[in-house]
């Protein structure tokens, strides 16, 4: 079974440029998550989707970050414009259920973003 797929794996951009990350979850997984992982830290949730609905975007900086999951399968996370402080690893995860307590999340390899 294929795992969570993310692309690109690495991205280097200059500040003020836009950038987009793509994620394809495990087949059949209804819930999709985007996380931010800074160096030396654990992942922090940015947004959670149940099918195509964003059910928790409270941690997403909406002034520059946006996300979509139009058909309830793959998802795109965008930053526009990027700032130096956005340099981090952006992780996508998916889970089978509705994100409840016993739902287990499976992670993709992440996209390492460097903003110059």
């Amino acid at each position: 079974e294929a795992g969570v797929v993310q692309s690109p794996r690495y991205k280097i951009i200059e500040k003020k440029q836009p950038v987009a990350f793509w994620c394809n979850p495990i087949s059949g997984h209804n819930t999709l998550y985007w996380y931010l992982q800074n160096l030396g830290q654990g992942p922090e949730l940015l947004i959670r989707y149940e099918n195509e609905e964003a059910v928790d975007d409270s941690q997403l900086p909406k002034d520059r970050f946006s996300a979509e999951r139009l058909k309830g399968v793959d998802s795109t996370l965008k930053i526009q414009p990027a700032e130096l402080g956005d340099s981090a690893v952006y992780l996508c995860a998916s889970s089978l259920g509705a994100g409840g307590g016993t739902d287990t999340q499976y992670f993709g390899p992440g996209t390492r973003l460097t903003v110059l």
Partner: protein, 115 residues
């Protein structure tokens, strides 16, 4: 709000040494607990999880963890580490109640196993 503390940021062990990584959480309700591992250059992988039942949970690659409710702890153990266990280990906690529960991670422990 829930939080997770991993007190050991960097651990260096020789092969065959025993391992115990600490994890304490802060949350007033019932929780589910996870350990994830990230090998160099690879993605986060689930090592083991605790939902209910026997508080001693066995995971992949000989790892185990014990949930001690009175101490709010979920320490990870392995009797004899191998060089291939070199990785970063993350403890995570999730409320068991409701569908809006969030998975909260600790800051991670970097394990370095020397030959």
């Amino acid at each position: 709000a829930q939080s997770v503390s991993q007190h050991n940021h960097h651990v260096i062990l020789s092969e065959a040494a025993s391992l115990e990584l600490g994890c304490n959480y802060s949350y007033g309700g019932t929780v589910n607990l996870f350990w994830y591992v990230q090998y160099p250059g690879q993605h986060l992988q689930l090592l083991l999880k605790y939902f209910s039942g026997d508080p001693l949970v066995k995971g992949i690659k000989g790892f185990e963890a014990e949930f001690i409710k009175s101490k709010f702890s979920f320490n990870l153990r392995k009797p004899s580490v191998q060089w291939s266990d070199t990785a970063e280990y993350f403890c995570a906690v999730k409320s068991r109640v409701g569908t809006a529960s969030k998975l909260t991670f600790g800051t991670g422990t970097r394990l370095q196993v020397t030959l």
